[in-house]
């Protein structure tokens, strides 16, 4: 039972990081129907910018959560600027283009960001300086660390904030309107371009936080770290129903838990024939199974197509 609990804890922590990143994917998709391939790389930039800041502070002898917070505070505007820049340069000119063109452009941006990061930060695996004493807490036989708790708390708060913004504020209303029908929203006085930019802004901000948290959690930063994370987060967004905020959150948490339980128990369940190296397969198969029975994802709108 302890082991099960441990796997679930690890899964929820990993999942909440996925959820944070998945929110960025789902918001952008909801409003311009584009898979922002470069989003994972924005997370990576957040992680590395944060790393640089934290390294400088650690060299001065500073420690503690304040250092991490400072890293996040610097990463957020950096990523926001990056996100806005990408939208303006690589996506906006292609709004009217056939739908695959912005996708290829996004792929180009993704590769470009990876290479730029390699040129700036180098190719080695960089380590996040240890500025935290990371006490462990025990829940029965399972262990949860302070970092894990902070991640759960931070992502929880941010998701709640996003929910409130989207559901209760004027900005959120404008976003939902633009996602539903941009033409009419425009006629109702919504500056759709501005709203799209805000979406990217918010998504990138979340990405920055996720990046620094991921770096702190695993202690490593590298220019290739965005790819897999982005892929998993996108899978989570689709699992939950792309375009749905609640779906992204649910999808992320679910994917994290499924991955960990899968890696943990596949070997035992199949008596060694299928081991932990197949855990990614497991996650994808789950996704496919869900989509066969609910083609719009778990919480996606059962959209009847406009005929």
């Amino acid at each position: 039972m302890d082991i099960f609990l441990q796997q679930v804890i690890n899964g929820l922590v990993q999942g909440s990081l996925y959820a944070l990143v998945a929110l960025g994917y789902t918001m952008v998709y909801g409003i311009i129907e584009l898979v922002n391939f470069a989003h994972g790389e924005v997370v990576m930039v957040g992680a590395l910018v944060g790393l640089s800041v934290i390294e400088r502070m650690a060299a001065r002898g500073e420690t503690g959560w304040g250092v991490i917070a400072l890293g996040i505070l610097v990463a957020i505007p950096s990523c926001m600027a990056l996100g806005l820049g990408i939208e303006r340069i690589a996506y906006r000119p292609l709004r009217k283009a056939p739908r695959l063109a912005p996708l290829i452009s996004a792929i180009g941006v993704s590769i470009a960001l990876q290479q730029l990061a390699a040129l700036i930060w180098g190719r080695n695996y960089l380590h996040y300086p240890e500025v935290l004493a990371n006490p462990q807490f025990h829940l029965g036989g399972a262990v949860i660390t302070q970092v894990q708790l902070v991640i759960l708390a931070t992502t929880g708060i941010l998701m709640a904030v996003m929910w409130v913004v989207v559901q209760k504020t004027a900005l959120g209303r404008a976003m939902r309107a633009s996602a539903q029908n941009p033409a009419v929203a425009g006629l109702m006085g919504v500056n759709v371009d501005r709203i799209i930019a805000s979406t990217f802004l918010m998504g990138s901000g979340l990405a920055a936080v996720a990046g620094v948290l991921v770096g702190t959690y695993y202690g490593v930063g590298n220019h290739t770290m965005g790819f897999m994370l982005g892929l998993k987060a996108f899978t989570a967004a689709v699992l939950g129903g792309i375009g749905s905020l609640g779906g992204a959150m649910l999808g992320g948490l679910l994917l994290g838990v499924i991955e960990n339980l899968g890696a943990g128990y596949l070997g035992a369940l199949t008596n060694g024939t299928i081991g932990s190296n197949y855990s990614d397969v497991f996650a994808f198969l789950m996704l496919i199974a869900v989509l066969i029975f609910r083609p719009s994802g778990l919480m996606g709108e059962r959209g009847s197509e406009k005929v």
Binding site: Y218, T224, S276
Partner: protein
């Protein structure tokens, strides 16, 4: 349009007919023979720090050889290094190998990883180009029947075997959990270790697999935690074993940790941080201080390239052994110096180098290190023949 096309086509055809095949290989100019040596290692990716280290070791040897002004076959010889990046990817490795063959290099120092060295070795064998690997430890490399495959470092049968016995006898472990990164090197080493450990009476509670790009091992480690082994063994590289070490401790797992030569680097120290205390690793060969010419090499290397990562002394020796064979054969032609290479008996920086009938190093040893006070400290050298 048709006129443009036709003139274009005609010129291309003309060019095609005029030329055919570009000659590469040793070129002469001003009475000096330029001999190209190919070197391949991952210069990008998670192992770039090791790849660069290899390249530096090779370059040091070539620069020093050129400074000596060597004469072979009555001609003054200048060695030229052709360094390529194989990204630790088997496919890229074969492409690099083809390139070297196309360039008609006289010898190859490479590759770094077993996964790249083994497929490339076939290409070199077909072209008759001698290949010395300074760091690939998977036994298969020299057991394919290729006369051109050599290695100046003991292989994993030795490494895995000695470690398996060490774990039982010196560490006194009764149970072990094994993980590998599903690469040819990592899985190969882990399997060798498993065999030896079992033979020494240790119980293997589980053998898990991850991959060489992963960063989160907690699910697998939680599993391992449940089985409560005395020691965890990982076959794989430092980019994974470093973060893995951190996760092991933060999950509250008390088991000891051991890894092979892939994790025995300074990168591991920085990636694992304080969690790494007490970890074991192994490197084929002697510690640099105990190597016959180690201290001297260290000084020369540090002056130019900084800290030694892992294999640069072996790269140096590989180049020198190759040049030594060329001198003894009095020729830089691969078909002429290859038999001499097989009969080498050379006093290298790392050890006395001679090869067995497979191209493996004769009489290799393994040194076990432990992480103490933030540094790797040599514990014991195993497998020395009296």
């Amino acid at each position: 349009m048709p006129r443009l096309l036709s003139s274009l086509a005609l010129s291309l055809i003309a060019l095609g007919l005029i030329s055919c095949g570009q000659s590469s290989g040793p070129t002469t100019g001003s009475g000096e023979l330029v001999v190209r040596i190919g070197a391949s290692s991952p210069l990008t990716g998670p192992q770039a720090h090791l790849g660069k280290d290899n390249e530096n070791g090779t370059r040091l040897a070539i620069d020093e050889a050129n400074a000596q002004g060597i004469t072979i076959g009555g001609q003054k010889v200048r060695f030229e290094l052709v360094s390529e990046d194989d990204a630790a990817d088997p496919k890229t490795g074969t492409i690099v190998a083809q390139k070297f063959v196309d360039l008609k290099v006289s010898g190859v120092i490479g590759h770094l990883n077993s996964g790249t060295t083994i497929p490339a070795s076939r290409i070199y064998s077909e072209a008759g180009i001698p290949q010395i690997s300074p760091s690939a430890t998977n036994p298969k490399y020299t057991h394919q029947g290729f006369k051109t495959a050599f290695r100046v470092i003991p292989n994993d049968t030795k490494q895995g075997g000695e470690l398996g016995r060490y774990v039982a006898s010196k560490i006194g472990a009764k149970t072990v959990a094994i993980m590998d990164d599903t690469t040819q090197y990592g899985q190969g080493l882990a399997n060798q270790f498993e065999e030896a450990a079992k033979a020494a009476g240790v119980t293997v509670v589980t053998h898990e697999h991850t991959d060489d790009k992963a960063s989160d091992f907690q699910a697998i480690l939680t599993n391992i935690k449940a089985k409560n082994p005395d020691i965890i063994f990982y076959g794989g590289m430092d980019a994974q074993s470093g973060p893995m070490m951190k996760q092991i401790r933060s999950l509250g797992i008390k088991a000891k940790f051991m890894t092979g030569d892939g994790g025995c680097s300074t990168e591991f120290l920085s990636l694992a941080g304080a969690a790494g205390e007490g970890a074991y690793c192994s490197l084929p060969g002697l510690p640099i201080e105990k190597m016959p010419k180690g201290e001297d090499f260290k000084k020369r290397f540090n002056a130019k390239y900084g800290e030694i990562q892992d294999y640069s002394p072996y790269c140096y020796d590989a180049v020198m052994v190759m040049i030594d064979a060329m001198k003894r054969a009095n020729s830089t032609d691969p078909s002429k110096y290859l038999p001499e290479l097989a009969k080498s008996n050379y006093d290298g920086v790392t050890a006395k180098i001679s090869f067995d009938e497979n191209g493996d190093l004769k009489g290799g040893v393994i040194t076990v290190y432990q992480l103490r006070g933030g540094k790797w400290v040599a514990e014991e050298t195993l497998g020395a023949q009296p």
